[in-house]
C-alpha cells in the first residue's frame, strides 16, 4: 500500500472487537493492580484439620485432612505429619507433602492407618515448608 492510497477507516466491527479487547485487558490490569495493593506482606500461615468422616475399607482407616494457607506468601513443599498414639505410644505415623500452597488456597488428602484412629489419639500437624 502506498501513501497516496487512502487509508481504510476502521469499520464498525473492528471498533466493537477493539472495545471488547480493551475491556478484557483493562479488567486483567486492574485485577493485577488490585492484588498488588492488597498484597499481604506476611509469611505463610498453615493449618491442618481433620475432616469429619473416617472411612473404613478392608480393615484400613482413611482419615481425610485439609490444609489451608491463611498467610500472605506461597509456601512450597508443605509437609504434613500424622501420628497415631494408642495407649500413649506412637503406633503409626504418616507423612504427606504438598507441592504448592498459595495464599488462601486449600488442599485435601487422606492418611491411611491400619489401626482404628478412634481407639487412640490422632495428632495432625504441619511439619515444615519452604519459601519458593
Amino acid at each position: 500500500m502506498t501513501k497516496t492510497e487512502q487509508q481504510p477507516k476502521r469499520s464498525m466491527a473492528e471498533w466493537v472487537t477493539f472495545s471488547i479487547a480493551s475491556f478484557i485487558l483493562a479488567i486483567v490490569v486492574s485485577l493485577v493492580g488490585y492484588t498488588w495493593l492488597n498484597e499481604k506482606n506476611q509469611p505463610p500461615i498453615l493449618s491442618v484439620t481433620k475432616k469429619e468422616t473416617i472411612r473404613e475399607i478392608d480393615g484400613q482407616f482413611y482419615v481425610p485432612f485439609e490444609v489451608v494457607n491463611s498467610g500472605g506468601d506461597t509456601a512450597e513443599s508443605v509437609q504434613i505429619m500424622a501420628e497415631l498414639l494408642i495407649d500413649g505410644k506412637v503406633t503409626e505415623t504418616g507423612e504427606q507433602q504438598i507441592d504448592f500452597l498459595s495464599s488462601g488456597e486449600s488442599e485435601e488428602g487422606a492418611f491411611i492407618f491400619s489401626k482404628n484412629p478412634r481407639q487412640g489419639q490422632l495428632n495432625l500437624r504441619v511439619g515444615s515448608y519452604k519459601l519458593p
Partner: protein, 292 residues
Amino acid sequence: MPTKRQKNVWRSEINDIIRGACGGFLFGIPLLYTMEVWWIGSLAKPQLMMMAIALMFVVVYLLNQIEGFRKRRYTGLAHQAAMDTVEAIAIGLACSTFVLLLLRELTPETSLRESLGKIIFESVPFALGVALANQLLGDIENSNAEGQATNSITKNKGGELNATFADLGATLIGATVIAFNIAPTDEIPMLAAATSAPWELAMIAASLLISYGIVFQAGFSDQQKRRQQKGIFQRPSSETIMSYLVSLLAGAFMLWFFQKLTFSDPWTMWLDHTLILGLPATIGGAAGRLAI
C-alpha cells in the same frame, strides 16, 4: 447494498480474530503444557505480572508494525498497531484462560492472584503467536495462485486416494512432531489425574473446533487450496474428524513409545492420556496439513 457490505465487514473481522487465535494456539500450546510455566505464574508477584504485560505489549506492538494478524494492513499508523496490539493481547488472554480452564489448571478454588499469574504468563506466547499469525503459515496473495496451480496438478495426477494419503500423511507428521515434544513430559499424567469424563468430552469438542478453525476458518495461506482439495474425506467436517483420529493415534503411539503407557495399563488410562495429548497433537496435525 449497505447490509451486504456490513455483513462482509463483520465476517472479515471475525475471520481476522479467528486467524489470530489460531496463530496463538499454534505458537502457545506447547507452553500451556509446561508445568513450570504454571508454577512461575502461581508464584509471580503482581509487580512481575505488570512487567510481563508491559513487555508483552512492547514486543507484540513491534511485531504488529511489521505484520499483524489482520489481512488488511494499516501501514505507518502507530495508533492502529497499538490497537491491534490490545486485541492480540486480549485474544491471548482469552485463549489461554480457556485452555487453562479446560486442563483444570484453573478452578473456582484457585486464588485470584494465582489465576492471574497463570493466565498472564501463559498468554505471552499466545499473544506472540497472534501477532505472528500471518507469518506462521506463509503469504496469502502469492499462494492463492500457487495453490490453484498445484491443485490442478494434483487433479491431473488424479486419484482421490493420493490426495487423501497426502492429507493423512501431513496430519500424521504434524501431530507426531508436536506429540513427540509433549509426550515424554510429566504433564500428561498430571493433567490426566485431574480430569473427569465431562472435561474429556469438552476437550474433544475443543480439539475438533480448533483444528477446524485452523484449517478451514482462519484464512491461512493454503485455505483456498484446502477447500478445493479432492479426497475421500474432502468435506471439512469429515476431514476434521478424520484428522483428529489420526492425531489421537499419533499421540497414543508417542505415549507408548516413551513408555508413559504400557499394554498392562487399564484402557481408561490410555483414553484420558491420549485425549489430553490429542489437543496439542491435533493442532500440530492441522498445521501439518496447511504446510504441505
